[in-house]
Symmetry: C2
């Protein structure tokens, strides 16, 4: 019996039972997988946060470059990143999965293993889903729910003139890996995970919300420039960024020296899943302390103003003109 | 400029703004489309209900047989039906949409028109989503959130021995339409909507929960037999159904006279989105009153017992053996 046949024998309901058996109980989930809906409680001092993402083979990922376990973990992380970007705590995930008949039960088990372990890492549980066969590509839909103390969630619209702009970690590493893969080069091994399995910055997001340190926040999925522009548009403000302060890993800096223009990947490509936030200068000291506590760099890269544009300045004060490498699903080709 | 070009010009962010402009405010939604997450309140005496569905071209629908406005409405209705099946009130929807480049802006507008009007019909709002290009089929992912008074949601697991089994409306109409389409016949026009745009029985579900009338409930998506078996398995009970009491429309009855065996479509095909529930005999009078109030037939089709199987009896008491026409996504071919 081939593995595909084993999956066929397992059937849709058998698959649901298999997944069900892998999930731990949660204090917030009265009823999880196996009924028409999950039943969940939300604290009376809490608000519910929800976000949904689609990941499609050939558009968002390439099965030649990623393994199924990584793909499972990435599917969770990029979705949970939206909860982090509001300063919330992830609670539950819902997985829609359309699996092509060309893939095996082993692939499915690896994928689910990645999904379940990463969901657990973030303190959440798989609470529901829908499975079917795909006649085309592998299709993954993930919806995440989380909670924030009432009124504490950090929106895109709160940036104030004079706010400093911060970003966590380093930018462009995921883009650099993909750039190598697309050029049939071996990507830098120390950066590979940044692309194949990024981390959602949940602890940072929640700490910023708890301490009331950030006025506006977003996670960098579309690229620093596009995502900062989302904040500026929602807040009706402008900003100036300092090119030399954009945080880059040692490997990325090395690559920039070998090939000019690569810096634009860090500015416009996206898929970094770092948090970009604005904060009053009065919060600077606490942000430094938080950075030390979390052992995560929080770089000051610019400031918000009353204008309506985004300018990126070089060290000598000259305006930097980047080339757009960002991604608009309806205007450009697939990333991978 | 072709319509495809217009959609390309609109871009992903333009599309999101277009959708945003079509959505009315909701008292439960503090922040809707346009940030990393929606922000929602859930009453302190309420529990949150959530369900997710994937609909994929070639698996769940065929664009030769449905128009985009119907498809939009159906995508909402089949998902909201899961909230109805718990006795809840739908509040918000999240739409994941991967749109093939071969489809036009007009198609997209028709689809969104259907989604938005149906969401409004059910008293809910579109609160978030994700859009991208599909390199393969049209892919629709819908997640719905609703609320039920704490402890009132009706699960699959509550069926009691002696409970009467009820089903709303008529069964098999959707299957009959599809049967005609698959055989290149003109489907009965009075049944077409049952297939292309079924109704979620939200009022019935909520009333049963409010009045505490049902012990177990499910919506019929996989077929009467499969869905009753879900209740029986979750409740660890058995049941007997009376074949002659299965509610059939006049058109379906006529078709049964012309072609023997069609009754199995009503038993095993699914996509009826009627509610199947079990209730104590003591609730019979109130259920009759509710049926009259809602102008919706509620047929008594059998009873729950302490056994562990499901038997369907003919008028003469003989066991009826049906042929399985139901749908298991991992064990059979696509319905359409």
């Amino acid at each position: 019996m081939t593995e595909n046949n084993r999956l066929t024998t397992l059937g849709e309901f058998g698959l649901i039972e298999y997944i069900q058996s892998q999930v731990d109980p949660s204090p917030f989930l009265r009823l999880g997988i196996g009924d028409d809906c999950s039943i969940q409680t939300v604290g009376s001092d809490e608000e519910l946060l929800t976000s949904t993402d689609l990941l499609i083979e050939g558009v968002h990922f390439n099965l030649d470059w990623t393994n199924f376990e990584q793909l499972g973990r990435k599917s969770v992380a990029v979705n949970v990143s939206d909860i982090a970007a509001m300063g919330g705590t992830p609670r539950s995930l819902y997985l829609g999965l359309a699996f092509p008949a060309t893939l095996s039960l082993e692939h499915l088990e690896q994928f689910l293993g990645g999904v379940l372990s990463k969901t657990k890492d973030y303190g959440a549980v798989l609470a529901g889903g829908d499975t079917c066969r795909s006649t085309g590509p592998l299709i993954i839909s993930v919806t995440v729910q989380g909670a924030a103390k009432s009124g504490q969630a950090i929106c895109r619209s709160g940036a104030q003139p004079g706010d400093l702009i911060y970003v966590s970690g380093t930018l462009g590493d995921s883009a650099l890996v993909l750039h190598s893969l697309q050029n049939n080069e071996q990507p830098a091994s120390e950066l590979a995970e940044r692309h194949h399995c990024p981390e959602a910055r949940t602890e940072l997001g929640r700490s910023l919300a708890d301490q009331g340190l950030a006025n506006a926040m977003i996670d960098i999925s579309d690229g620093l420039v596009a995502d900062l522009n989302h904040i500026l548009k929602a807040s009706d403000k402008g900003a100036v960024l300092s090119l030399e302060h954009i945080p880059l890993s040692a490997t990325f800096q090395q690559a920039c020296q070998e090939q000019s223009g690569l810096i634009d990947l860090a500015l416009t490509w996206g898929e970094d899943y770092e948090l970009l936030f604005t904060a009053s200068p009065a919060a600077e000291k606490e942000i430094v302390l938080l950075s030390e506590k979390l052992k995560l760099s929080l770089s000051k890269i610019g400031s918000v103003n009353d204008g309506n544009g985004l300018n990126i300045l070089q060290k000598d004060g000259a305006l930097y003109q980047y080339r757009q490498a960002g991604f608009d699903h309806f205007a450009s080709e697939a990333k991978e």
